[in-house]
Symmetry: C2
Subunit: 308 residues, 2 copies
Amino acid sequence: MSKLLAVGTVAFDAIETPFGKTDKILGGSGSYIGLAASQFGIETGVVSVVGADFLAADLEMMNAKGINTDGVEVDQNGKTFFWSGKYHNDMNSRDTLVTELNVLETFTPVVPEDFKDAPIVMLGNLHPLTQASVLEQMTKRPKLVVLDTMNFWMDIALNDLHAVLKKVDVITINDEEARQLSGEYSLVNAAEKIHKMGPKYVVIKKGEHGALLFNQGKMFFAPALPLAEVFDPTGAGDTFAGGFCGYLAKTEDISFENMKNAIIYGSNLASFCVEKFGTARMQELTAAEVSNRLQAFKDLTQFDIKLS
Amino acid sequence: MSKLLAVGTVAFDAIETPFGKTDKILGGSGSYIGLAASQFGIETGVVSVVGADFLAADLEMMNAKGINTDGVEVDQNGKTFFWSGKYHNDMNSRDTLVTELNVLETFTPVVPEDFKDAPIVMLGNLHPLTQASVLEQMTKRPKLVVLDTMNFWMDIALNDLHAVLKKVDVITINDEEARQLSGEYSLVNAAEKIHKMGPKYVVIKKGEHGALLFNQGKMFFAPALPLAEVFDPTGAGDTFAGGFCGYLAKTEDISFENMKNAIIYGSNLASFCVEKFGTARMQELTAAEVSNRLQAFKDLTQFDIKLS
């Protein structure tokens, strides 16, 4: 069975959207990546840290989904990373209300022995030095290293980010962050500059406007599925990345052509993620639902031009 | 040969972008629609009005492209409609500097006899009553009526717009305008409400984020081709609409499946339009260039999922 190693946060989120609000519920990039990848029946190992207040039920749920949580350290002296945010009416912007790093402040990821040879590694959005420390623990160079990051790290740890980017094959980043990192407004030019920083593949996430995959002059685009209602966008980007990595791990094919399929799967899974609060929809998602929605993506994008 | 009747403005534009500025050059929805449709070797009749200051060379250029300008009235007592605008650095927003309606103020379109039976009619962005008066001159109900409009007419002539929409098969509109017309934020819900106003097909233009085609629950998406440089966005929407109508006229197939191809062609032509100021790129565009770029659209969007 193919292995995927994912490092990221396993956290509590409290979310408010125009449709309602939640108390502390399961969140974090590692949780979303793991749940998305679990759709592919691969062996996903999540590396993270939680506090004494974390719920055994949440770890059990992940294990039941086939997610290996041996790498999730439980720090009995601390509290779980907590984030709280409120989305505006258009769902495209949000205010962060609370960020309590808690156990994340001293997080030193330890990769379980079983995953030190994972062919695919997903470095979720964390400090670039933390991301780099995961790569250093691998016993052999993974076939594919995927890194997600955000503007925050460009602001406070740009040199560390540049250092880890040299060791990365794929970067996933949103459009504004791609512009910030490259200094280029055009996403085509931005991707070209980011290629020169290391990643041969650049995935630019545009939220409701889809995602672009760049590979040294080649391009592919996956739309987001237009939805009547977006209930909660939290975790959509991580779900997208988890679907992307999970599909590549399952198919054991990291060609550009297969990455096209992988970002379609990422978009597919992300379109479910936003239908309910937090991870709720991803926890109950079935293979049949994913397969049906794949047809919706084909209907949305595939055409057959007859005119020569 | 298939016929397309297009009503719209034939105008002078003066444009400023971060790349430079122009004096008065050929512009107007009718010009862009006609030039786009001319790529398909169909008979396109443009109905419009110009003033005594209009250039014979511009009419000749259109005729040389196979565009029938019998319906372009030359008002010797007036001046040609003039618009001037300045684009911001991101090219997604612009300021209108000058709008001189001139001969457009009293424009009463007269459809030439030869085009009163055109199977496809494109009503470019004009007062809804002007658009309606074109339909009233048709000797038989066209197979397909396509209407473009904008927020301005929603603000000052909403009842007239609703009246003409009842007679229309396809509306092309941008995302903000679709939200204004429907009162719905979600484009899926917006399209559903606009269907109820008349048009069975709703095309929502999202500029650099592509275009969505809705048909009573069915959806298709055409991306805009990501470009390193957008030189001048003026006319891209009209070129898109002209490509859409021209393709449908050429293929004589107004099924939903063929409309998918038509909006890909619309995006294809629009991606050329923005490469130079005004209509310059559309005037020199060759069939070979369009055909080559079609491959770029296929590469950008077509995928082959192997996983069941």
